[in-house]
């Protein structure tokens, strides 16, 4: 009987696509998987099949030729657009932009003190080139005055639904929605967007957390308020460290996460790697990124707990400047193994264009849902 009860839910995932075997699966249904750290820094633009996957629900089955995007104004008037309409009616733009799950690095926060959520390690983040059309062009074409002061948020719904038929939903502030950088994308790395990443349409709101960049985009509604979806109102909000696990959560007391704070992670070497003393140096590589288009201005490495620092070399997107940096920064540094060391901790931290930096530990940012963990990244290493 218990088996029968579970079957319908399991069936919901039968349409999920085949995935690359290298992905590190954190949850099979819904599918959640991160990119192997050592592969992440191999590519400035993450290949589609290695791009981390964060699904909240089963991958919807969509006939691309039939798919329609509905766009609604405050007065309820709406237009419907096929993927072909989008391509034909508006000017396409392409740029690199990171998507990072708000729960990235939750596992480390859990090590600091127990939290609740999917135990992402540090690579629930990837960088792709997105091609699509500006959301503002679509809104204006739908007869919407994007400067109407009543409009506060633009709400989005995906074609993915829970067992009751409720779609995934989220919203972003109107200023972000009407910005030059927010697009409805139909291509990811010059390919049609793959099923796991929102085929055929995904909202790209660069610099915001992944949860607001709605996949399988089906409906856009301008509104006087935020989305009423579970994921906007009862999730993706980071509480004070004074709120403990098990307490009732006053979700309205904290704002929905939109822009990501400054983040950075050492991908190579992996924790607990044995480094040979006679190598004399260690090659360190990783990523850094900040929300809101705030470019990374430096990444620094310390082997002495933060007493002294060495600046890493930065690989950045040549098409973007530090005021509009949606792509990530790949950093590399050759660091000298200190004399006589047999255990080391590699620390990395980044600074963004507004001179925001990362906290040293999770002490001030710990939160029950384990969101937005961005403490200095610390990698223990053995010298043998």
């Amino acid at each position: 009987a218990s088996l029968e009860k579970r079957e319908p839910e399991q069936d919901a995932f039968s349409g999920d696509p085949i995935r690359h075997p290298a992905l590190l699966v954190r949850n099979p249904k819904p599918f959640n998987a991160e990119t192997p750290p050592s592969l992440l820094t191999d590519h400035f633009v993450t290949p589609n099949e290695l791009f981390f996957v964060r699904n909240h629900l089963p991958v919807p089955s969509i006939d691309i030729t039939e798919h329609k995007l509905s766009v609604e104004g405050l007065d309820g008037k709406k237009i419907e657009l096929s993927v072909e309409d989008l391509k034909k009616k508006y000017k396409s733009v392409s740029f690199n932009s990171v998507i990072q799950c708000a729960g990235n690095r939750r596992n480390e926060m859990n090590d600091f003190k127990k939290v609740q959520g999917l135990m992402w390690e540090g690579t629930a983040i990837s960088n792709a080139r997105w091609t699509g059309v500006k959301l503002r062009d679509i809104l204006i074409d739908a007869g919407i005055d994007v400067y109407d002061e009543r409009i506060k948020h633009v709400q989005f719904e995906g074609a993915d639904t829970d067992p009751e038929g409720t779609p995934y939903g989220a919203s972003i502030p109107i200023e972000k929605a009407r910005s030059n950088e927010t697009i409805v994308a139909f291509e990811m790395n010059d390919q049609p967007i793959p099923p796991d990443h929102g085929s055929p349409l995904r909202l790209i709101a660069p610099g915001n957390v992944g949860a607001r960049q709605v996949k399988w985009l089906k409906r856009v509604v301008v509104s006087e308020e935020e989305s009423h979806s579970h994921w906007q109102r009862k999730d993706y909000r980071a509480f004070s460290p004074s709120v403990q696990l098990g307490e009732e959560l006053d979700w309205d007391s904290v704002p929905s996460i939109q822009e990501y704070p400054i983040q950075c992670l050492v991908c190579v070497p992996a924790a607990n790697t044995n480094i040979e003393k006679h190598d004399e140096t260690i090659e360190v590589a990783g990523y850094a990124w900040s929300g809101g288009g705030r470019g990374v201005i430096r990444v620094e490495i310390s082997l002495d707990g933060g007493k002294t620092w060495q600046s890493a070399d930065l690989e950045q997107d040549k098409e973007q400047d530090i005021e509009h940096m949606w792509a990530w920064t790949i950093f590399r540094a050759t660091v000298k193994i200190p004399e006589g060391a047999d255990e080391l901790q590699i620390i990395a931290k980044a600074t963004d264009r507004s001179y925001n930096t990362q906290p040293e530990t999770a002490a001030g940012i710990w939160n029950v849902r384990g969101l937005l963990h961005n403490a200095w990244h610390r990698v223990p290493i053995k010298v043998v």
Copy 2:
């Protein structure tokens, strides 16, 4: 002879105004003074006479009725506007906005490790209501296309000059300059702007550091590049902690500071205050603020080094929302004195709307010029 040599420079300050005796003077000429911490939290809007003063040069002597603002396009064409022209030609707006010196809290950074600069303690910051006209309206009226892609920065010059006649100068990115919030102000707290604060005109670029909000504003030039002023190119840039005092500084290797990172300070009680055990509680008050309009979403207090936190009550500007919060947040908390404590450290730290937080110590943010110190604020207290 040495006296004769010094006289001309000293004379340059003879036109400086009379100041309120409560101001804590850090340097008399040019005049630099901060607000007494205990007075700062008394007022959500700082009274003009108590507003901190950061002058780089002597206060210029200006005939307000004769003062002209010159506004120049890329082609060198310019218009000139009197203060009366500004008031008559454009719509006025008023809002609260903080000005904070990029060197605020330098003294604490110097305690961590020696830095170079004026030893501001923690109140080189104030909040006032500014009235003026949008810079974008002026630019457009001057025939400038504010969306011209060649324009990268808008440069400003003040009427204050060094002994060689070079004016103070700075610039801000065009996107900030054409934003809704950047104004040329002529009133501060409903009074004509006082001489120390830029009479008759000051640029207000809310959310940016004080150094870019040019006082005694005289000249506006749109440009393909940043201001060439000393203060834009050879100052107000925060280096990596790996750059040591005495090293030659590669100023072009770091971007000019524009938006301020998240900041917070306990104003009351003062460090080393004796608190009476039988009071049982301590009343803590201070300010928190972040750049870029990122509203403060919480301020937390710890008495145990950051192991546990208590959220403070926040007083905020009712006219502003967390996406456009130019005013500061005044926080207050009643904290219980722990049993048996005879020495305590009150720690305060804030989180902004993008979930950026402050670092625990200066270890990762220390820089030779002692800029943008925003580590957790720590106040030692004695319980007697």
